[in-house]
Amino acid sequence: MNVELRNPNTIMKLSRLGSFHQSKLSFLRSFLNEFKDWDYKRDLFDLNKKGFGIAVYSFKKKDRVYSLVCFANKIDDGDRSDRVIATKWDAAFTLHDGVPSKNDIERLKSQVPQQEVGRLTYKELTLSRANKSVRVFNHVVERLSNGSQPDLDLLNKVGYLYRTTAVYGSGKFGLADRFRIKNREEINGPFRLEMMLVYLVRQFTFDQVNHVAQFKNPKKAVKLDPKICKNLGIGNSTGLGMAPFIVNHPTLLNNWILCREIALKKIREIKRVQNKDSRLFINCVRNSIKNITSWNTVNKYQQQKIKFLLNDVKKFLKFVENNFNFEKDYPFNKIYLWLEKEVCEECIEYIVSIMMEPFSEIIDPLIKEMSSDEDKYFNIPTERTIKELKEIIEKKYPNILSINFEKEENFRKFWFISKNKEEPRLADRFKELGSELEQPLAIARDIKKLYERLKFFKDDLTIDKFLIENSDLRHVVRRAFIIEKFPYSEIQDNTISENTVPIDMLRLKLSFFGALKFDPRSDKWLRICMFQGAPLPYELKNYDEQWVYNSYS
């Protein structure tokens, strides 16, 4: 049986992309899988009794070493902010390529805590900062120092001791460019070093909280139970900074989605599913219920989505446990078709993610296909004709061509870069100043404009001639030729409509990171949790691959 890949016009809609969940393809899970046999070590832990100072953690294999350098600082409560405008953080981190020398550490000490205004070098790979969840951190210190374990209800509600507010890589602020390291086999997957940084930061937070509690009451203090540690992750506050990334990296976006779609297609094409695989799938779905019931958010929109998701997952479980026979041919295809008919988008994508769990032989090779050499597809094939370009647009952007951009509601918003923080923002062009400096992220509007303009030119004219007088549309001419080869490279939606929900774009990216428990705080930023339930570093050599579903929070 040949199952078709799902239609990009359905999958690449913002509401669908905003319903994606973590899966076996997610970067934090593939990071753990890749580094599970590396040697983990805490190389330096030089904190004072309040927990301020320097620590270094590393992963080593043969001659390769990656070292996380941590700087924990004292800050006033009034200075603690998750927003990108903050200038001080409880801790700042960088992932150093190799073993840092004393000179390196001195250099980094003066730069890393400054984050965006500091300068890193090609020896550093990623950069980040994090703030304590003061409420949880203080509670844990208090309890541990008195010889008892913390209140699990409180911990489950929050899920972490620290949350990062940005993780930078790939050449930002002087960090190493991607090309310097792209041939290393162990990082043959997107954002692998960013994931390593976050994972090691998680361990630092446990070590720090134990250290502070120990110094507070050396006679009575106990260590945080490793089982509790395991069920804590690292929080993350994410704003609009992430949204343009997926528009600006079309071939990379394509490869992420395409791998997911190929995985689904191959799973649906399995004729006979082994008993152990169907059992694993059902167990994961069943166990995942507690990930939904422990998913806390104050956001009404998300609460509603969670409610529907929970109902639909229960409905699915009832169906699959009572009315479904895995011994019939192509069971996962039947399940998928049932999902499309019976449940909401969020639940479809949720179950699609879980379908991947039993099938490492399908998923593992795909993980290596998720990066992209974007420069290879940058040049415009200018020898092609107007007719060909029109056909590509008609075929690849059918819904976008039907949007009426004469209506204010369809172009109300504009994307811009703020001068003070150099971060992307979204505003109402009819109320705010600055739309003349709009970023080229209104792809739907510009594609439509390109299509309308092409109608004035002869079909056999070549693109080089068209571009002479139409340079203003060059960026979308390039994209149209990219989508011809990369069907999932474009969001098939209007990113400047008054109804655009930007957090859908964030959620798409975060789901590929492997984030859990999306907690929107507005339509422009959200909090998430990463690595909650993940094995601790000393457990990596032999860990439960389905930890996401088997943690107890």
């Binding site: 090609y122 002087g174 460019d177 991607r178 200018t382 080089d464 340079s471 960026h475 979308v476």
Partner: protein, 202 residues
């Protein structure tokens, strides 16, 4: 040290601010990144170009011909983008001349990328400075100073045909030497050491 990613992003944004479209600004970002990657002063020249650009009246070129003349200097960005877009049809001209080009260094990465597109080396000469663009893999030059002229009165671009740089004799001599790694085949080796059968008429 600035990373290439920072160089590309800042060059792109600055180019948009200097009046180019986003699509052209993307091209400029990639090109300045290339120049800096090859150790050539891209940022310095782009900066000087944008400072000068409004005072100098520059010629924008649409269709490139064999001989391109103007009383004004050609804009290196417009010329570079046009060359890149039209390179497949320009190849047959073999040699193309331009009467004067502002900031000729900025044209080089466009030529380098063009060389990769057509699969031929491109030779660019101006003011006794020569550049050989090798398929966008590397750039050779006879000019090792860092101060490039702000403009040149004449620029010549040639397409270098794909041909050997060595004589037949050089090749034969080297090939003969390489044969010393081969094993002389005996009858027994002829029968038993190859993959296919002795007759393959089936």
């Amino acid at each position: 040290m600035k990373s290439l990613s920072e160089i590309e992003t800042t060059s792109k944004r600055a180019s948009k601010a200097a009046g180019f479209s986003w699509g052209v600004a993307e091209e400029i970002g990639k090109c300045i990144r290339l120049l800096e990657l090859f150790g050539l002063p891209g940022i310095k020249n782009l900066n000087k170009f944008y400072k000068d650009k409004d005072q100098k009246s520059l010629e924008n070129i649409n269709s490139i011909r064999k001989n391109n003349k103007s009383t004004k200097l050609f804009c290196p960005v417009n010329l570079g983008v046009s060359f890149l877009d039209q390179v497949k049809s320009l190849e047959s001209l073999k040699k193309i001349t331009f009467s004067g080009i502002a900031y000729p260094l900025l044209l080089i990465p466009f030529l380098s990328r063009s060389s990769e597109i057509i699969g031929k080396k491109i030779f660019f000469e101006f003011d006794e400075i020569n550049f050989l663009l090798n398929f966008n893999v590397n750039i050779s030059t006879n000019y090792l100073k860092h101060n490039f002229p702000n403009n040149t009165k004449k620029g010549v671009i040639s397409f270098v045909e794909n041909k050997d740089t060595f004589s037949d004799t050089d090749w034969k001599n080297l090939y003969k030497l390489s044969e010393n790694t081969f094993v002389e085949e005996t009858d027994s080796l002829m029968k038993g050491a190859a993959g296919a059968g002795l007759t393959d008429n089936d």
